[in-house]
């Protein structure tokens, strides 16, 4: 019993440490960004470069999320995921860039298809 309690406390400590580590690792990038921004002019070339890199990194993350997803999404078929994304982007484009319809549909499509 005592052993079980001690184990549970240890687990909870690891979780709290993990939350702190995750939050710090995330905030560093945001805060450094805020500091760098003070020296960057909107009209400068370096701003344009940062803008391109930001969009590319985001696109890379999305590409990875669809092709090599983490977590539960990995249990669906790759081809189904690609088809769902394709259909939803098409809906987005023909619905005058409405975002509510394609996002709601994506969940329904994938739930039915998988």
């Amino acid at each position: 019993m005592l052993f079980y309690l001690a184990r549970k406390m240890e687990n909870s400590q690891i979780i709290i440490l993990a939350i702190i580590a995750t939050s710090l690792a995330t905030f560093i990038s945001r805060f450094m960004g805020a500091l760098t921004s003070e020296k960057v002019s909107v009209k400068s070339k370096i701003f344009q470069w940062f803008n391109c890199v930001a969009y590319s990194t985001l696109a890379a993350l999305l590409g990875r999320m669809i092709i090599f997803p983490a977590g539960i999404l990995a249990e669906s078929d790759l081809i189904i995921r690609i088809v769902v994304v394709f259909i939803c982007v098409t809906i987005f484009l023909i619905s005058k860039k409405n975002l509510v319809i394609p996002t709601v549909f994506s969940a329904i499509f994938l739930s039915i298809l998988s």
Partner: protein, 234 residues
């Protein structure tokens, strides 16, 4: 201190046909259920979204806890996956900058920077007077951040009622939303190139290095897009 009219304008960007509320809700409900699975209690799950508020990093944390990774390893893995927030901040905050605004607003509100809030801000900052843009941003941030925390708690509570197919359905909403927003943002050559090259390079480099893929893909694709549009006069 904060211009309340502009603040509420930012806050109400949660409504309407471009609302990020639905994808945010879907992915944080799925996250709440996953955090329960990883052994967190409800307070810890809420704290995770409160203090981290960046979904890919939280996913890495939950999966690392499940396989028993060390705290140092979690720190490095999260830093690598969330490093994208650095270029994202630098490509947004100069647009919000105004000399009359105190610096603490920028230092605190950078915590709200996530993909959804960033995409909304990039999409609509032009409508706001330069002087008050930071208050608009704080409004967007408070709205998206509190939605995320609330939905994490709901996901945690609903975990037992969600089956696998429903969770898979919830998990696709986020990438679909982001893809649509990114395609909507492809208004000039440099951004279009950056998005297309990034989408292709991300998974390709992932085959070589899982941890460094995002960083390298972003740097390479972004730099090519930048250089190409410079050469061709945008």
């Amino acid at each position: 201190m904060i211009n309340s009219k502009v603040f509420f304008q930012g806050l109400t960007s949660l409504k309407g046909s471009r609302s990020p509320a639905i994808p945010l809700a879907a992915c944080f409900i799925a996250l709440g259920a996953l955090l329960k699975d990883a052994g967190l209690n409800i307070q810890q799950s809420a704290a995770s979204s409160l203090f981290t508020y960046a979904l890919p990093g939280q996913l890495v944390m939950a999966e690392s806890l499940l396989v028993g990774a060390s705290v140092i390893n979690i720190f490095i893995a999260v830093w690598l996956v969330n490093f994208r927030l650095y270029p994202m901040t630098v490509s947004l905050f100069p647009l919000l900058n105004h000399t009359s605004q105190p610096k603490w607003k920028y230092y605190l509100s950078c915590h709200f920077l996530a993909v959804s809030s960033w995409l909304i801000a990039k999409d609509s900052y032009k409508k706001i007077n330069k002087k008050h843009r930071i208050d608009f941003w704080i409004g967007i941030g408070i709205g998206t951040w509190s939605t995320a925390i609330l939905m994490t708690v709901i996901g945690y509570l609903a975990a037992d009622y969600l089956n696998k197919d429903m969770l898979i359905g919830l998990a696709i909403v986020n990438p679909v939303y982001f893809f649509c927003m990114m395609i909507g943002a492809m208004k000039n050559l440099s951004i279009s190139l950056a998005v297309i090259l990034g989408t292709v390079l991300g998974p390709l480099i992932y085959l070589i290095s899982t941890e460094w893929a995002l960083l390298f893909a972003g740097l390479i694709a972004g730099s090519i897009a930048f250089l190409f549009s410079e050469k061709n006069g945008k």
